[in-house]
Symmetry: C2
């Protein structure tokens, strides 16, 4: 029996089978994705304990679903019926921060913001900053190849993972990647693990690259009377050759939801707010901020200014980060994550508006606009099945539109369950076959997060 | 018959079987690596022609070895007996440079410097700059995940590949990756192809990310009376939190060889020259150059200065780029490519000197010192078999030392043939098994560059 094996190999406090507690582990924040019922939740404290869990699953042919904080937005960490649900929440050690090598070695359950804070104490910086950074874990960030606000300049999680320790699909505990600045010793299996959503291995330790702390940022805010105008400003920033350190779009619906929740006194005079930042050092930063301001004006801003007040600037960015949970309070949210070429941002935003109207669906928008990574947030009144169906149609239309414009179905949230069909539309059938071949090669017994990512 | 199929499916001028011409294709620049004799050399002009070649190889179970310019340094592109040798030299189209998306789409045979020049005309920059940039191709750079001089700040080829078109091991022509700034749609198969040295697919088109042209660089040069002092200066730069845009080490042997060849009037008063650059914009660049200078002095420079003369600075960097071909003129070269943690650079350089003495072998040193990526160049008098044997022993000692210091056997040249044994030392047996499983998954018939990379 699986449970007997787990009880034999792990300290008793690692196993959770109280149904009320287990219920808190069955799905991530993709409320619309289906989930099953795990047989047991395990919370290992070491790589060796993770290995024992994987081996027990192998022995019994039991599916294994790994999860971090459960802030995922695509159902990637949702339980499969009868699975072992492995939570990394107790593996929270920051093992090492090496200042001269500029790297950190952490357990997968370390919260993103906690790593950031530990690095800052040493004058170092871990850039990837998903909006979920106060809650999400490095392991989860690695599993989804999480993006974030500063990724427009500094890249995504993948760009910071040097190496990792992994329990493989055959139950071996191995090291992939490296600690050196460069390295091409064999296939990039560490890179392959990043973004594979727990389907190719279970990460037990991650070695990430760090940067020196950067210069303070300059913030530019712009108000626009239409989302399409804001999209034009975004395109103008790209065309001007500016590399902002953030370029975020937040619409009135999001600002209002945050304000209603947190009473931050946010202005909602505008339909859309664009928030740009630059961290170019010294005078170059001042100049870049001025050029960004000119682009906002060129795009048709009704009001735009460089923020002289750091608190005000921080409040605007906090509002951006709180937009998702604020809207979530108002009803079930279906989150989109399409990413389109930068030049296609105005057209894509217009198509999102059209989909909202066509399917009579409320769609709020937040976007990593500088990356072309858009997050239309589709919400429906609780219990309104017809509205739910209309929202799903809008969701599919948005996917189709993004692909038509040369985009991808997921910029940073991952495929999980919500984007499996979309992935099937995006990839050639032969590429799906390559996915299956790689999956079978590294998880020959099919126990790792089965049914996720790869289109059926 | 294979040749009949190729003649049927390709225009006649794509096939080369004149033995004198074929002889020019049998190996790359890793003179010490063995090579076989190809049955035929093919020079396709399109992805469809590449696909026809792969399918012919599949039909006849014939090995296929792909090569770019043949500037590789590990034997990765060396012919296998009876293989089809596919040269990408006629696939040289720069299909597209998109200024607002900051990307380029190129055929694999485009020379690195040609892409760089084409981008510069549009105010854009393709950073990866292997010393072979005037000759090596983007396809070859992708196959080896090539590094270069500016990688210490800007990353390696892998960091710039967004997507690609590939003929798979089953003869399908597919697209991997994306054109958007971000994307996590499925496994990172494009990333897996980068650095796989032609063993997982044949790249027929590459989409690369570009940056805006950067600010002019400031150069700092330092002379050192020992390689260990220079190593200390490198560690000081890292500890000071400086991110140079290049930090290169060249020893007296290299400078003398370049001077003997090109008569550049280079100073060879010093045992070792360190060349640092920074491209931080405006006043920040001036400050960073001054701080780097202080680090050189702290490391024990006998002379150090910021170059006020751009021509002089360019001459020093040209000498760096010419070091390898200059030494190659003097006799067979065995090229090392170990990469160690930055703090271990002084110790590793000392160990290289010790290996040279212990095995009575002439070792010149060039290094991407800021990355800890060292290229000891072992040379022997032509025809001296005993010296050759001693050099091989030194080569193995250097690999062992690098692994002992937490390094990798190859920082940027790839495994090919020269580092297969070293890779076996570096990777766990289980990780080698993962390599074999991935290789079999994507090249089920074993035709793609067999016998390379994966330890036997």
């Amino acid at each position: 029996m699986l449970l007997e094996d787990l009880r034999r190999d792990l300290p008793a406090d690692r196993l959770v089978d109280d149904p009320d507690v287990v219920a808190g582990y069955v799905h991530d924040e993709a409320e619309w994705a289906p989930h099953g019922k795990p047989e047991v939740v395990v919370r290992p404290r070491s790589a060796e304990e993770v290995q024992a869990v994987v081996r027990a699953c192998l022995a019994h042919g039991t599916p294994l679903v790994t999860r971090g904080a459960g802030t995922g937005l695509s159902g990637g960490a949702n339980a499969v019926d009868g699975c072992v649900l492995l939570s990394t929440e107790l593996m929270t050690a920051v093992r090492e921060i090496d200042e001269s090598e500029r790297l950190a070695v952490v357990e997968p359950g370390v919260v993103n913001d906690d790593l950031r804070a530990a690095c800052a104490e040493r004058g170092l910086w871990y850039p990837p900053d998903p909006a979920s950074a106060p809650w999400s874990t490095i392991g989860g960030n690695v599993a989804t190849n999480a993006g974030g606000l500063c990724c427009v300049k500094y890249g995504v999680t993948r760009d910071y993972v040097l190496g990792m320790q992994v329990v493989t699909g055959t139950g071996e505990l191995v090291r992939l990647g490296r600690r050196t600045a460069k390295g091409v010793a064999g296939y990039d299996l560490a890179g392959l693990m990043v973004g594979s959503e727990g389907t190719l291995g279970v990460v037990t330790e991650v070695t990430v690259k760090l940067r020196p702390l950067r210069d303070p940022e300059h913030t530019v805010a712009g108000y626009f009377s239409s989302i399409v105008d804001a999209g034009r400003a975004v395109a103008a920033v790209a065309d001007a050759g500016i590399t902002p350190s953030a370029l975020e779009l937040v619409d009135r619906h999001c600002l209002a939801a945050v304000d209603a929740w947190k009473n931050m006194g946010l202005s909602v005079e505008a339909d859309v707010v664009l928030l740009g930042r630059t961290d170019a050092p010294g005078a170059a930063g001042e100049q870049e901020a001025d050029r960004m301001l000119a682009c906002f004006e060129e795009g048709g801003a009704t009001w735009a200014a460089r923020s002289t007040d750091q608190e005000e600037a921080d409040a605007l960015f906090s509002a951006r980060r709180l937009a998702y949970p604020a809207l979530e309070r108002l009803g079930p949210l279906l989150t989109e994550d399409v990413c389109v070429p930068k030049a296609a941002v105005p057209e894509m935003l217009a198509r999102i508006e059209a989909a909202a109207q066509r399917h009579d669906t409320h769609i709020a928008n937040i976007a990593h606009a500088g990356d072309g990574n858009l997050h239309p947030l589709l919400s429906t009144p609780p219990g309104d099945d017809a509205a739910r169906e209309r929202a799903q149609e809008a969701f599919h239309d948005i996917i189709r539109d993004a692909l038509e414009l040369g985009g991808t179905v997921t910029g940073e949230h991952g495929v999980g369950l919500l984007k499996k069909d979309g992935l099937g539309l995006e990839l050639d059938g032969e590429v799906v076959a390559m996915h299956r071949a790689v999956k079978t090669a590294l998880d020959p017994h099919g126990i790792l997060n089965p049914g996720k990512v790869i289109p059926d």
